[in-house]
Amino acid sequence: MSKSASRGIAGTVDVVVIGAGHSGLAMSHLLGQHSLRHVVLERGEVANSWRMERWDSLRLLTPNWMARLPDYPYQGDDPDGYMSAGQVADFISDYATYTSAPVLTRTAVNRVAQGSHGFRVETQNGDWLCRAVVLATGGFNKPVIPRLADAMPATIEQLSAHSYRNPGQLVPGGVLVVGASATGLQLAQEIQLSGRPVTLAVGEHVRLPRVYRDRDIQWWMLATGVLDQRIEDVDDPDRARRVPSPQLAGASDRATLDLNALQGQGVKIVGRLMGIRDATAQFSGSLRNVCALADLKMNRLLASIDEWAEANAPSGVGPIERFAPTAIDAAPQLKLKLGEDVRTVLWATGFRPDFSWLDLPIFDRKGDLKHDRGVADVPGVYVVGLPYLRRRKSSFIHGAEDDARELTAHLTDYLDRTRQMSLRALAI
């Protein structure tokens, strides 16, 4: 195929949605209800990340009954269970079918640039012209790996939570898991149970019980309005968006996965990884404080739940509970010999979105997308599905709907206004 043929125009629409995950498909469905001509471009298959870029044992952190997309509630027979990654992918694919979403799969976007009447979205199958673009590629495309990784001795195997699939990938011997989010704790647990001794480096984290007073913690978070909390009501929005995912696992026994549980299974906990010198990993002496902060914060949440329960008297809930503080060794280890004690380092240090294909003046000095609750700094560009985009639940499956409705309203209004302006220009 000649180069000019590949640069041809594939079509002209009102809106191009990039990414056929739950957020992109929710947007697509609502755009369709507003009769906006649009297309959803997907680099792989629908729900690609869930199929291709998650570890084998991953399960959703929210119970199934919470899973819903616009006009599409959970209809399975295990409302209290937690979907596997494959089940999430199927749920999203079924939604695409149900909504007859105009998805073009295997159509990766190489570049988005401003065009004469809006935007030009370039793909290997031709370019799409549109007046608005919705970025729905998600907030978890690339692993965040600290620069420290460069100082790691070459003999140490390194991988990220993005490339990790199961313990079988790892050489025998000790594993240092860096990061104490849901991801870090889940991987630490399954690797420890595979017979490789795990040390977990713990920085700031969020501790939560899986079940509180006989209800899933997410039930409480939803009922008390915590999940609906808006970003504009948060003291420090930047921080709220950076907070690691709470230490939860979607295990069928609904067991709590916290640092105490892990230590009971033999995982050693140390402070945040702060340095590597002479093949020795150095850990922060702040372990006690980060654990104290997480315990205090959990207890504040539980107290606010108790207060809400007192006022609203939900039926069938259990008595008030409090959990043991996080146990810390009398002298937590500050160093670990890399190569001897540790053969593999697994970076569970978070994810970030990848907008490298956006050729628009839309990034701040740190390279982050500039937007106000999903309305990007370049008029006509919208972003969905990022953590705490508009509400705490924004990156959750059930969180897509409210954000998508509000952003669809904004987008529709934007198209109406710009259409009137161009009509007026024509009249002159």
Partner: protein
């Protein structure tokens, strides 16, 4: 029940601190500070350090006055004990930083403080500095800080103040995390 909300008076200008935080967010250069000290050997293990200027907000800054600090070793080390031991200055710095943080956080959370007393203790095996046992480090093997705080707040809120102060403390960070140190010399 109506409760009259009074503003705590801990003597910390929180509005100025929050204003600085907002202003410095978009002025990364102004946020770069250099802290300085000079020192001169007196005699024996006695040393005198001076602190007067620092750099910050894009300009040279001066303390209201010059501060001098005498350090020495105690008499049981066959020294003259003309000042606190250098390792004790580390504890002094930690106490100063954490307590300032507690006051600032309390003010921000509108918690009235009445007294904030800290007791600090650092363990050290001097077989390290004496070179007796290479497996013993020179520095502290741990630091214990205890705060005794009288404030109009619950025990849990006080614990949260102390925790938040550690989270934002420069000296706590300097002590708990590795720092690259470059020492050079010249002949005068």
């Amino acid at each position: 029940m109506t409760k009259h909300m009074e503003t705590a008076t801990n003597g910390v200008n929180v509005a100025a601190l929050l204003g600085a935080r907002e202003a410095l967010k978009d002025a990364p250069e102004a946020a770069r500070f250099k802290w300085r000290a000079t020192s001169e050997w007196v005699k024996g293990t006695h040393n005198r350090a001076t602190v007067d200027g620092f750099f910050g907000l894009g300009a040279e800054q001066q303390h209201r006055q010059t501060y001098k600090f005498e350090s020495d070793h105690p008499e049981i080390f066959a020294s003259e004990d003309k000042g606190a031991t250098p390792v004790e200055f580390v504890l002094v710095g930690l106490a100063g930083c954490l307590t300032a943080g507690i006051a600032a956080v309390a003010q921000n959370r509108n918690i009235q403080l009445h007294s904030v007393k800290a007791t600090l203790e650092a363990g050290m095996n001097i077989q390290g500095i004496l070179g007796i046992d290479p497996d013993v480090r020179n520095g502290f093997d741990g630091i214990k800080v205890h705060y005794d705080i009288d404030a109009d707040a619950s025990a849990e809120d006080i614990a949260a103040l102390v925790a938040q102060s550690q989270k934002r403390s420069a000296v706590f960070d300097v002590i708990t995390n590795p720092t690259d140190v470059t020492v050079t010399s010249s002949k005068s």
